[in-house]
Amino acid sequence: MLLFIVPQTRAGSDAVVPPTPLLLMLAWQPQAQFAGYYVALEHGFYHEAGIELTILSADRGRSALAALRAGEVDLAVAWLAAAIKARADGAPLVNVAQLLPRSSVVLITRVSSGVHRLSDLGGRRVGMWMGDAALPVEALLREQNLEVERVPQSTTINLFLRGGVEAMSGMLYNEYHLLIDAGPEPEEVMVFPLAEHGIDFPEDGLYVLEQTQREKSAVIAAFVAATRRGWEQAFADPEGALDLVLRRQRAEYVPANRTHQRWMLEQIRAAMGEPGENGWDWRLHREDVERVGDLLQRLDMIDAVPSDIERLGAE
């Protein structure tokens, strides 16, 4: 009886409020960095919030922010620096949640290359990502007045492994561990976390266009709440979350193994910080926006801090 009644009730409520379809584009290919979204989707948290969510991985050569600006997706996962740059370019973006308040970007060198301090990088070949992902490293190089040979870096670590560059950009939760998984021992590499060298930009945040925020503010709030549940669940059952992530990776032919994804999830957890009494504080703080914006401007990485920059942070 009960089984029969429950779907009836569901169908009834669905009929009253049809689920709102939303498109989310991640900052990258599926990996544990985005475990919370997959968990919330698979556990039906979005569905319960009245949202029919579709998760898209980032296209090669095209960032999530670009897709958002083109109006192809409703939500994008992006770094704050990239968002400020887009805002400076006139894109009407707003931040609806700031998930990672700290930076996980690192510069990695081999101990054998003789780089023991950042200043040793002068004149060396440094691998830099293309596009907005290069902003933190670029900011570091400018801030520290390091004259280096910038070598565009692909999405793999192979150029560094083959000796094509002496330093590479990386995320502590990803490239660093991939490197260790390709043979070098942890003692054989030097890691320079940017956060320890004055470039601590907040990273993954959720962005929407102002128009979306205006028209669908309730849905967006529900989306953020469901996402929050997803992350709580992911950290409560990491192996279950990894199952979902790995399944998604297999489906999209992204080479991955559990050991590496587990490392990544642990690092993301550390980067997200301990939740307070009411969960994580996912608000984007004005001082962070101004700090990053001012620095980017000072380093000539944006022309001017946009006058409406405070609108990046959601109310």
């Binding site: 296209d59 090669r60 050569g61 095209r62 293309m130 070598v151 565009p152 870096q153 692909s154 793999t156 192979n158 150029l159 492994l161 083959r162 000796g163 094509g164 560059v165 260790i180 998984d181 390709a182 043979g183 021992e185 297999r250 032919y253 080479p255 991955a256 193994n257 050991t259 590496h260």
Partner: protein, 656 residues
């Protein structure tokens, strides 16, 4: 049921333990040596077998490499326009079925503008060869296949990657190399020429390679990525170091580094590939890849393990059988022994009919049983003999007791000896030893005034002494009837005794005759202890020494002579036998005549009764616990003289 502490159980335990240890050790040694031998063969074998496989992979890779190098050489040697390049690429692709597609990425500088891109690509689709001039979504300048050989200036086999093309997913590896400008004076880079090969082909090839039944070959990239594996989920996803991390064993990481290090080798007992296995690995020339051949241990050693198991089963059966044999032998030893032990217990409780085990074999147990049976028979006879002997002895003892009663009953017990004569008093007592002895005393009146009294000690003990004493006593009394003088009496008695004394027995006698009217005492001491004369009025007791004369019964014709003295009123004469002076204490000391004299002097007694009682008490307390070995006989006489007040008649004071 054998008890655990029994010989049988212990024997079985020790024998089984020993055999089990020997069996286990020899099986272990056998297993170890067989494994070592097998591993040695395996190493030699693995090398030659994997060589063939390595060569097959190498052949493909080298063919591809040669083809692309040749094409690059053609592009460098002739002044060909960009538009001629796809035709040459198509030709090369047609000639090399191993190649999936060929691309030529041009350097922007060679194209004349930094923003210009040109990357013609010929590839196979549905059996045909197609040309694509569309650049991909991503800038090829920064893809590994282009960038790495460009930056390094060297040919490069890329890390394999998935190529997602419409519905088609292919695992691709790319060989790429720099192509220079054709003019010999222009050493600038013209572009990068690359050939894709589909790795599915390798996966199939390697899957067909049979290693034992469940062994397999694994192709490993330069970064350690698994490119072929029977578990397809591992392909591209797992990596030697992620596999090693799953075991959290740093040795495995070291093994992984060794394997992709470009050398050739053999690693024993590694779980790196998911099963405990022995792994042979060798580099593939023309690339930086490694081929590993995995020999699962359980399969490798299955035959040996089965043989060992069989040997162990046979051994265990043998062990069981030997256990049964040992138990049976132990049982055949311990069973009769237990019956013997039970029988012994019953025999100890005088059950001589307890059954003995049947003797089945002439072994030690049989001998023991036979000896035991003989012992039982002897024991039974001995006990029978003991019983009859004891009965006889008891009869003799009872007869002896009767004899002693009779012996004592013939001694006079009436004191004073002559009623209504108070001129003297006489008391005597005899305490016989346990055995019948030969002491006696006697007294009787010779006429109305004279009293004959005597004390005697027959040599030896027992019935002969008792009989000899009876004879002597009777002879003395009958002889005395018509004789007046003790010398005469003893001379006559000696004559009688010595005449037919076949047994050579003798007797010591002190015989005295007291005249009650005068106190005159005539006496003869025939070899007896000297009596003690106890005077009155402070006179010390002294020995009544006379001429020593022969004992009675030894020699015929001996004539005894009397001695005489007169007893003053109040004087006493104490007669005793050697049972008094030779009474012994615990320190083997005699009571001795000296002590006797001392006692008499230091403890004067008012009357004869208390005198005898006191003496007996002193002698017995001297002897203490020492058993009395001889009769103790005492006789005392006191002369009171005429006109003394008559003493009260006394009852018998002879003590036994």
């Amino acid at each position: 049921m054998a008890r655990f502490s029994g010989i049988g159980a212990r024997l079985a335990l020790y024998v089984t333990l020993c055999v089990a240890i020997i069996l286990g050790a020899s099986l272990g040694l056998y297993q170890y040596q067989a494994r070592e031998l097998l591993l040695q063969r395996l190493q030699e074998n693995a090398q030659s077998r994997s060589l063939a496989l390595v060569q097959r992979v190498e052949r493909v890779l080298i063919t591809v490499r040669r083809a692309i190098e040749t094409l690059a050489g053609t592009l460098e040697s002739a002044s060909l326009s960009q538009d001629d390049v796809p035709g040459l690429m198509r030709h090369t692709l047609e000639m090399n079925p191993e190649i999936f597609g060929i691309a030529m990425g041009f350097e922007p500088s060679a194209l004349g503008h930094p923003d210009r891109r040109h990357v013609p690509y010929v590839f196979r689709r549905d059996g045909r060869i197609e040309l694509s001039l569309e650049p991909g979504a991503q800038d090829y300048l920064f893809e590994d296949w282009y960038q790495i050989p460009r930056e390094l200036g060297l040919p490069e086999w890329s890390e394999p990657y998935y190529e997602l093309d419409d519905d088609n997913v292919q695992l691709i590896a790319t060989f790429s190399l720099p192509v220079m400008q054709p003019k010999s004076d222009d050493q600038r880079l013209r572009g990068i020429l690359a050939a894709d090969i589909a790795l599915d082909w390798f996966t199939c090839e390697l899957a067909e390679f049979k290693v034992l039944q469940h062994g397999f070959a694994v192709l490993i990239s330069r970064n350690g990525a698994v490119l072929s594996h029977p578990d397809t989920d591992c392909i591209m996803n797992e990596n030697l170091f992620s596999l090693a991390a799953a075991w959290s064993d740093s040795a495995l990481r070291e093994q992984a580094r060794t394997m992709i290090g470009g050398g050739e080798g053999f690693i024993q007992n590694t779980p790196l590939f998911g099963v405990m296995a022995h792994v042979y690995f060798a580099p593939i020339a023309g690339s930086d890849w490694t081929l590993a051949i995995v020999f699962p241990e359980n399969e490798l050693f299955r035959d040996i393990n089965r043989l060992t198991l069989n040997a162990a089963i046979v051994g265990s059966l043998g062990l069981g059988l030997s256990l049964l044999v040992v138990l049976s032998i132990a049982g055949s030893i311990s069973r009769p022994l237990r019956v013997l032990a039970d029988s012994t217990e019953r025999i100890a409780k005088s059950d001589f009919d307890a059954p003995l085990p049947e003797v089945q074999r002439g072994d030690e147990v049989g001998q023991l049983t036979e000896s035991f049976a003989a012992m039982r028979t002897a024991l039974r006879q001995h006990i029978e003999w003991l019983r009859t002997t004891t009965a006889a002895k008891e009869r003799i003892e009872s007869e002896l007791a009767i004899a002693r009663d009779i012996q004592m009953s013939i001694l006079p017990k009436l004191f004073p000896p002559i009623p209504n004569r108070d001129e003297f008093d006489l008391r005597a007592l005899i305490v016989p030893a346990r055995e019948v002895g030969g002491d006696f005393y006697d007294f009787f009146p010779l006429d109305k005034d004279r009293l004959c009294f005597l004390i005697a000690d027959v040599s030896g003990k027992g019935v002969p002494a008792a009989l000899f004493m009876a004879v002597t006593k009777t002879l003395i009394k009958s002889t005395a009837r018509d004789r007046q003088d003790p010398a005469e009496i003893l001379t006559q008695v000696n004559a009688e005794l010595a005449a037919d004394n076949a047994s050579n027995m003798f007797v010591t006698v002190f015989c005295g005759v007291l005249d009650a009217r005068t106190g005159a005492l005539e006496y003869v001491n025939a070899g007896h202890n000297p009596p003690v004369l106890i005077g009155t009025g402070g006179q010390s007791p002294r020995w009544l020494k006379g001429t020593p004369q022969l004992l009675l019964g030894i020699m015929e014709g001996v004539v005894y002579r009397s001695a005489s003295l007169r007893l003053a009123p109040g004087e006493r004469l104490l007669l005793y036998t050697d049972g008094v002076t030779e009474a012994m204490n615990g320190q083997d000391e005699f009571y001795s005549e000296v002590r006797l004299l001392d006692t008499l002097e230091s403890e004067p007694q008012p009357d004869l009764v208390s005198l005898l009682a006191m003496l007996l008490e002193r002698v017995q307390s001297f002897a203490g616990e020492t058993p009395q070995s001889d009769d103790i006989t005492l006789l005392a006489i006191e002369y009171r003289g005429q006109g003394q007040r008559p003493i009260a008649p006394s009852s018998a004071s002879v003590e036994f």
